[in-house]
Subunit: 127 residues, 4 copies
């Protein structure tokens, strides 16, 4: 499992929207967006996430750790430092890490009675 | 946040189809497709979108701006200059920008009572 | 619109499954998979699609044209030469073209009362 | 069909979550995640899949074969050697093969009455 160079240090996700309503039991079926981060390297990763909006200055960085040889699925709804991401608002995000990681984006949308899902590998920025 | 070279200047999205029916409150749950554009650079972006069809000449360019350090989620349903994109019709789109951007494609489909979603990072054209 | 080199000549889609049941009006809501092909070049494209299975030899090529500056959304359900792709069966596909194209994969699944969607840009093979 | 170099030997999928509930007939509509692997080469592929977690050591490798010129859609729910992947738990996976392959990730989520789908081409690691 010695694969120190899997991934990239900078990733971008243009789509961002946390649906303001939900159906079903919390927290599993609560409408949310997540960034899923895999750190397959041997070194802990310090990750910074910046949020971009349509009509105001970017907010961030939001900081979190992903230990070596671990994954972390971060719900964007739950990030509150420096501030909560407003619901029902279009945004984008850029993720920067000090070690190579891989990032995938997911939304669970339960605004209507039956949930919908979307997902894509984020855009890997070449350095 | 000084990252002037995040992204590409040309992007393509082969899938395109605006469902002609919707369920649920407008405009949130109206069936639509969107291009989500992130401009993480320090310069405003002038973007041109061209729409390709199965049986007629391409239409465009549709023009819009994405200011520096901003995102813009453009509903393709709403573009009307030079003309509306017909609903219930297969199309593709190519996006060109004068500064590097990142593009993601999304559809919300509420033809049936419960909505469905799809999304993917668009195809980044190497220049 | 002079962009002769947008895209790749070989694409792969590992996922393939045509759901054997449907709900809703045909053909729009019939469960199906599609390859959406954009030919943004100035030359007509001759495309060949080969289907791979879990337990038998590949079948193909299926042949179709995508004219210059046109898109084509091909429902895999409808291809019948050399033979129909069986429903309810796992498969993969490889798409080859004589001019560069861009390919996106989509499934509409209406096995249950409310439809679900998936989509991704196909894998672009470097030549 | 002589295309020995289609694909990559290492792939990563940051998202992983097997929903612990299902609606609808088994096994088709059972909530599951799958890795769809295409081996378009002329040589059989030996594949190893490692699973990463948020709070414990990686588990694996899970081993399976994909014969030359074949696809294989592996349900992660069904892998049990060295051990089952726990349901309702966040994970990621890394796939390694001795010949080039292409990998796509899919989830069918039937926790609520109507199923939802997500899919993306996995992240191809450059060697």
């Amino acid at each position: 499992m010695n694969e120190p160079t899997i991934g990239h240090r900078v990733w971008a996700i243009p789509e961002g929207y946390i649906p303001p309503e939900s159906h079903g039991p919390a927290p599993e079926m609560t409408s949310h967006e997540a960034v899923c981060v895999l750190n397959a390297s041997e070194k802990d990763a310090s990750v910074e996430l910046t949020v971009y909006f349509e009509d105001k200055e970017p907010v961030g960085p939001y900081r979190f750790k992903v230990p070596a040889q671990r994954t972390r699925h971060v719900r964007l709804n739950n990030l509150d430092d420096p501030q909560l991401i407003p619901m029902g608002t279009n945004y984008s995000s850029v993720i920067r890490s000090d070690v190579p990681i891989i990032v995938q984006h997911t939304r669970l949308d339960s605004r209507q009675a039956e949930n919908a899902l979307l997902s894509t590998i984020a855009f890997a920025v070449n350095e």
